[in-house]
């Protein structure tokens, strides 16, 4: 099996390929999360592609549901469904919806797409594990723009109140949303202080550094009494030079030529490894 770095690069290629085929969708926030998702699915989470609804599995909620391509790529690479299906993303009648659908896609634990909902649902899943004395963990990926939604902070308050230390949120802190940089649209800083004040264990990492991500997940696992958030500093569009840090690549699919250039870069070597 490829190492995590290589897997992240494969996932990035899948993202480009499927978005070019779909001719719509969200590359920027999918690429920024590729390393995080690769670590979660290929070293961290306890899941079984043969048994997607296994009750003891770790759960994953893609709260920033528009990044569905990164999740679908990981699920396909993991063997939840054949990789060819990725090419039918967003097509009428096909199961790979524009935003994750738990009733259609094997391995998707929650339907998302409306920002803010996911973290709240993830906390509910974590509470269920506490009630049932189960040891599965719940992972949730949150966008930084998404953290402007009030419900995110309602969930943060409640998860700390109920001491959901089996809940791990990763914030994909790429600094961009749709209308511009997060700090210009609706400033959220100081983010780490806010989460700390809400009663969370806060870790800050480079979201493209596999070792840092892996190590911080280990720290979170051993932390008792509080939920953990990993604030992962990332680059939107990471791995494709012309998409990096470009607000315009939030929700536009690459053309065939752009996809070819992107894939050449991603296959080309270690620039982002």
């Amino acid at each position: 099996m490829p190492n995590i770095q290589d897997m992240a690069r494969i996932i990035r290629q899948d993202i480009i390929t499927m978005l070019a085929a779909a001719k719509s969708g969200h590359p920027g926030g999918s690429l920024s999360a590729a390393d995080i998702i690769a670590v979660l699915y290929f070293s961290e989470m306890r899941v079984d592609p043969q048994n997607p609804n296994w009750p003891e599995r770790d759960r994953f909620v893609l709260s920033k549901g528009h990044a569905a391509p990164v999740l679908y790529a990981a699920l396909a690479e993991k063997g939840f469904f054949p990789k060819e299906e990725l090419l039918k993303l967003r097509k009428t009648g096909h199961f790979l919806q524009g935003h994750p659908d738990m009733n259609k896609v094997p391995g998707v634990d929650m339907s998302t797409g409306s920002l803010g909902h996911g973290i709240s649902v993830a906390a509910g899943m974590a509470l269920a594990a506490k009630i049932d004395n189960k040891d599965y963990r719940v992972y949730c990926l949150l966008g930084d723009g998404e953290a402007e939604e009030g419900i995110v902070w309602e969930a943060a308050m409640a998860a700390a109140h109920y001491k959901l230390d089996n809940l791990l949120v990763i914030l994909d802190h790429n600094g961009l949303q749709i209308d511009g940089p997060v700090k210009d649209v609706m400033n959220l800083e100081p983010l780490p202080d806010k989460w700390r004040a809400f009663g969370w264990n806060v870790l800050e990492v480079d979201g493209h550094n596999i070792e840092e991500l892996t190590a911080s997940l280990q720290v979170a696992k051993n932390f008792v009494g509080k939920p953990t958030i990993i604030i992962a500093k990332t680059v939107k569009g990471k791995g494709v030079s012309f998409m990096e840090n470009q607000v315009g690549w939030h929700g536009n699919a690459p053309s065939a030529e752009q996809a070819e250039a992107a894939l050449a870069e991603l296959k080309g070597g270690n620039r982002n490894g």
């Binding site: 097509k91 659908d101 797409g113 749709i178 649209v185």
Partner: protein, 328 residues
């Protein structure tokens, strides 16, 4: 009457949201009290046009629709005229109770102008396709609900909403749709417009289904079936007089809307007809199911929202009308 309609199949298609952006800029020039709020979707809703022209009067509230509506209500208490925009699902769904208790209940002068309504949103899928927004907004006392059919009507509806004192919900789409109306077309809140006349059945439509209704009427007339077409952009207040008039004239009604058949135009027309003048009725709309990802055209086909579906519906109400007259 013909002068109301342009030669619509020859015109370039324009999304109603495009007309919204232009109307806002015009309003901004005419009235310094106009302020615009958005929730991180300004480029998609086209409030970015206003933001460019009047940066001091545009406020991006970030991804926080509930707070956007609260701010709009606060602004309205001082005499400002706020237009608050997002996708229909988030504007009406996420912020529903803010709209209910901070806008409709105190009857504040807030305009909720939502785009990307209906399944014609397309590829983003069911999570993003509002099929229930009209039901939500229509059920609120004090709320006016407008569903313009094309770019011309959208512009007029936005200007009318700004001139009207009180809460208004305006529903617009993402997809480019035919331009139907000439500038002489008269938009009045509370009035439906008869845009084609025929004695066999009446098709009452709004939004992008008006073009489908016109297409259906044309094809039906080639088959010897003559239909009245009513554009019912003012879903609330509903023009009962016009609805009852066409029901009496034709004795068979089809409604057509890009919305769940529960709670929207079909329901509203059914309510009026069943209380005052029951005639055979068929509601063309989304049959109480969520949408899915796909191209807008394929989805409109799959979910039964085309002229062909309207034609079938007209034939079915005609059959029922004729059965009835046989018995009589």
């Amino acid at each position: 009457m013909a002068e109301l309609l342009v030669d619509w199949k020859k015109e370039k298609k324009i999304a109603t949201r495009e007309a919204y952006g232009q109307a806002l800029v015009q309003l901004g020039k005419d009235n310094p009290d106009i302020v615009v709020l958005d929730a991180d979707l300004a480029k998609s809703t086209k409030t970015s046009d206003f933001a460019k022209a009047f940066p001091q009067r545009f406020f991006d509230m970030g991804i926080a629709e509930q707070n956007m509506i609260g701010f709009a209500a606060g602004l309205a208490t001082t005499g400002k005229i706020p237009f608050a925009s997002s996708f229909a699902i988030f504007a009406t769904g996420r912020a529903f109770e803010q709209i209910r208790n901070s806008v409709a209940y105190p009857r504040l002068n807030v305009k909720i102008a939502a785009t990307h309504a209906g399944i014609s949103v397309g590829e983003d899928g069911g999570s993003h396709q509002a099929i229930e927004d009209l039901a939500l907004m229509r059920s609120l006392p004090n709320m006016t609900v407008l569903v313009p059919a094309d770019a011309t009507e959208t512009k007029k509806a936005i200007l009318a909403a700004a001139a009207y004192q009180g809460p208004v919900y305006i529903r617009m789409g993402r997809l480019a749709v035919p331009v139907l109306f000439t500038d002489d077309y008269n938009f009045v809140i509370g009035k439906a417009n008869v845009i084609r006349e025929g004695q066999d059945a009446a098709i009452i439509a709004n939004g992008l289904m008006v073009a489908e209704a016109l297409q259906a009427a044309e094809e039906l007339s080639a088959q010897g079936i003559n239909t009245t077409v009513v554009n019912c952009a003012s879903l609330k207040p509903l023009d009962r007089d016009t609805i009852l008039k066409v029901a009496r004239q034709t004795g068979a009604v089809v409604t057509a809307e890009e919305h769940n058949i529960i709670g929207g135009l079909g329901s509203a027309v059914a309510e009026v007809l069943s209380e005052h003048y029951p005639v055979p009725l068929y509601r063309v709309g989304i049959k109480d199911t969520f949408g899915e990802s796909g191209s807008p055209e394929e989805l409109l086909q799959k979910y039964g929202l085309t002229s062909a579906h309207i034609i079938q519906a007209v034939k079915s109400v005609l059959a029922r009308k004729n059965e009835k007259s046989d018995i009589n």
